[in-house]
């Protein structure tokens, strides 16, 4: 993967650069994807003219919700595009919110993009609107993109950081949740799911959301059995208004902030990838109880 950034001063500048970037790919037989707001998409359609029919348009106002879900959404686009093209180019406008915590979330997203799709022949141009975004976000572009387009030239970033380091720096230390209660469980996955389903029903969680957690928690439970010397404890309850389920295992655990952010590929387990896209948040940490996988629904 080639993962670059471009900071633009006006919509006209964005359109000129992004359209040229995608056209270059189309001319070489590559697939082209543009992720933008409706206004940006309309402007790009107009600029691309007849070529627009060969471009996939993605509305970022729907796609940029939670970083893991956005990565999964782009991965679905890749699954589709690679059916017919050897290389995929993406010009995508990053949607950053108003608060520093939000900026960190999407800094982490950009950092993980480097690992997530590293195995794919794709060139992603992340675009940033200089007029709408705070300086700290624009400065951080250099920390997460190996190359940045400035004044018509590609400049290698001297400030690029290891994505795992970026993620580690911005991930808050998990808070111990004493309000969670233990849930009885047997060693088999089916009875674990049955117990969990009862708890979810008792909490009034909808069927659709319950199924999300049943699938995600199954992955955490299976991981603890397979890699963590077995499940020591399951705890659940409400915290911060959300249903939370912890699976504590008997093993030594691991310390890898990138776990679950690698898109599915040969030789890499996809259990945590599945869990992350189904959950609001997944925390993996060492606590006095043991190595803990905490699922926030």
């Amino acid at each position: 993967m080639r993962h670059n950034a471009f900071v633009y001063q006006s919509l006209d500048e964005y359109v000129a650069r992004a359209a040229a970037f995608l056209r270059e790919g189309l001319d070489a037989g590559e697939a082209a994807v543009v992720g933008q707001t409706r206004r940006g998409l309309a402007a790009m359609r107009e600029a691309l003219g007849a070529d627009a029919q060969r471009v996939t348009f993605l509305n970022v106002e729907e796609a940029y919700t939670r970083p893991a879900r956005t990565l999964a959404a782009y991965h679905e686009v890749y699954v589709d595009q690679f059916r017919n093209a050897p290389v995929v180019r993406v010009a995508s406008d990053v949607q950053v919110g108003p608060s520093p915590g939000d900026w960190d979330e999407w800094l982490g997203y950009e950092a993980m993009m480097n690992h997530c799709f590293a195995h794919l022949p794709t060139w992603a141009l992340c675009t940033y609107d200089a007029n709408r975004l705070p300086d700290s976000v624009l400065d951080a572009v250099w920390r997460t993109h190996p190359e940045v387009l400035t004044d018509e030239t590609w400049t290698a970033s001297e400030h690029f950081e290891d994505p795992a380091d970026v993620l580690r720096a911005i991930t808050p230390e998990p808070v111990l949740l004493d309000e969670l209660r233990p849930m009885p469980f047997a060693d088999d996955l089916e009875s674990f799911r049955e117990h969990l389903a009862q708890e979810l029903a008792a909490e009034g969680v909808s069927g659709a959301k319950s199924l999300d957690l049943l699938l995600a928690a199954s992955e955490l439970f299976a991981n603890a059995v397979r890699h963590g010397a077995g499940v020591a404890e399951v705890r659940l309850g409400r915290a911060e208004g959300r249903f939370v389920c912890e699976v504590v295992d008997r093993g030594g655990g691991f310390d890898d902030p990138t776990a679950g952010y690698l898109a599915p590929r040969e030789g890499v387990g996809s259990g945590l990838w599945v869990a992350r896209q189904l959950l609001w948040r997944l925390e993996l940490f060492h606590s006095p109880r043991g190595f803990t996988a905490r699922a926030w629904l």
Binding site: E46, A208, K209, S210
Partner: protein, 272 residues
């Protein structure tokens, strides 16, 4: 209890209630979404009024604002320590700005686009003449052979928005302005349409990806929106053994897992 601490407790309760409402709205609870929208509709409508000179329909602005509010629920994290409206108002404003920019953007149509637009206009007139009602986007798409998203672009380009202070019915009209004629969003609940639109876009029940029998088994066994049943009870209903039900369920869960972890496969195994 002192007044100060009572006020603090009340405010804490209000914060918790708001947080729970936002979480429920994010989870797809339509009633929670409706209540959230009702809570913030006055401020959204107020924000829409600031675009009075922008020649954009106020009701459309309010609807965009509501969509922005609901989008905010899908990102807002209470752990960020930002009050919800402080966070959501950014997305509400952004949604309105996008609409205003989209509708007031100068558009130069290519010859081809102009021809396509003429086809759309003819198709609309035909439809109104035959059916005595406005066509849907899908009707127009079928009639013209143009994809819906291309239709949207053409229709957006065609629009010549009326100013809110512009009189309706031309010079000989009643003197009522466009702004006055727009229904009060609080009374008309235009947000029902926004809720519908958002629900259509968010097909997020994984069980819908299963075939009928597998979906029945998974929902019944785990009591998803219904009382839970044992594998034996489900088997008796379906006329199969409990073991067969267990196999159907295992296959269903495995297929959902597989669908969420399909690897992208570049042709000829190309990787970088």
């Amino acid at each position: 209890m002192k007044d100060g601490s009572r006020t603090a407790t009340r405010s804490r309760l209000a914060r918790d209630a708001e947080r729970d409402l936002v979480v429920a709205a994010e989870a797809g609870d339509r009633e929670a979404r409706r209540r959230l929208v009702e809570t913030f509709l006055p401020v959204i409508a107020g924000m829409a009024r600031t675009y009075r000179g922008a020649a954009v329909d106020r009701e459309e602005l309010v609807q965009e604002g509501i969509a922005g509010l609901l989008f905010a629920t899908r990102r807002y994290d209470v752990a960020l320590d930002t009050p919800f409206w402080a966070y959501a108002s950014f997305w509400v404003r952004k949604a309105m700005q996008e609409l205003v920019a989209d509708l007031t953007r100068p558009v130069v149509l290519s010859d081809r686009a102009a021809r396509d637009l003429a086809r759309v206009t003819r198709a609309r007139a035909d439809h109104v003449s035959r059916h005595r009602r406005e066509p849907t986007r899908e009707d127009l798409s079928v009639a013209t052979g143009l994809p819906v998203d291309q239709l949207d672009s053409l229709l957006a380009a065609q629009r010549a928005p009326l100013g809110l202070e512009e009189p309706l019915g031309g010079d000989g009209g009643t003197g009522t302005t466009v702004g006055e004629a727009i229904a009060d969003p609080l009374a008309e609940q235009p947000y029902e349409r926004v809720l519908d639109r958002i629900e259509i876009h968010e097909v997020r029940d994984l069980a819908d990806r299963l075939d009928d029998r597998a979906r029945t088994v998974v929902r019944a066994h785990y009591g998803l929106d219904q009382p839970a049943q044992t594998l034996g009870e489900i088997g008796a209903t379906l006329g199969v053994t409990a073991e067969r039900v267990r196999q159907i369920e295992a296959g269903a869960l495995q297929s959902l897992r597989a669908a969420l972890s399909v690897p992208a496969r570049p042709p000829m195994g190309e990787t970088t």
